[in-house]
Symmetry: C2
Subunit: 100 residues, 2 copies
DNA sequence: TATAAATATGAATATTTATTCATATGTATA
DNA sequence: TATACATATGAATAAATATTCATATTTATA
């Protein structure tokens, strides 16, 4: 059994990081764009992006003096989709209500 | 965007809990069976199972004086499958090597 | 090439999460 | 119905993770 999935899931287990995923699901954007959108400090975003990138949940490209981050949709969208189904099927009365 | 996926992922982000998932992927079993198999203390297993159950990652049925836990394969197997693909495609040189 | 803009980094602290251990609760059966 | 077996629980502690803030790097341009 693969047991070291957990660094990957650890990223998705974090409120800020999952919010970043949510934003990048809509549009790729720079670090400061994310900081603005999410109303969080720049260094916080940078730290979060670093670990997301370590697990290939996001990708980065340089564009001028900005770094544009984008979501690895191939992996992440199907996972979120499964979670939506899971929620509606198994979490009717779920304690940890999954909604924002 | 659903932001409260993270209690769910938090479970998969934990080494013990993912080992439990690994065992239950093979066979359903009781708390003490798991404790034996994984060589961990019973209460540790119970605590872990409780939060896995809260997110419907595992199910439980009573059988005599034992409680038999089983994996929610419908949700979990596809997720693990996506992770396997992700690993082989994106994590060739990944820091957090995903293998046991 | 000095400067500003954009991002990253490190280390201290704070917060969250897990572990431990003693004990309580539930379940069957002698 | 007393006892053993199986599991759960609570609270203290330990460990892992995130946040903060000051500062270092990186990148483009005046």
């Amino acid at each position: 059994m693969h047991i070291k999935y957990y660094p990957f899931f650890g990223n998705l287990a974090n409120p800020l990081k999952i919010r970043i995923v949510g934003e990048l699901k809509q549009n790729e954007m720079s670090v400061l764009d994310l900081a603005d959108k999410l109303n969080e400090e720049q260094s916080k975003i940078s730290h979060a992006l670093k670990s997301l990138k370590n697990c290939s949940i996001v990708e980065m490209r340089q564009s001028g003096k900005k770094r544009i981050y984008s979501l690895n949709k191939e992996t992440i969208l199907p996972i979120l989709d499964i979670l939506d189904k899971h929620e509606s099927k198994f979490c009717k009365k779920c304690k940890a209500k999954f909604r924002l």
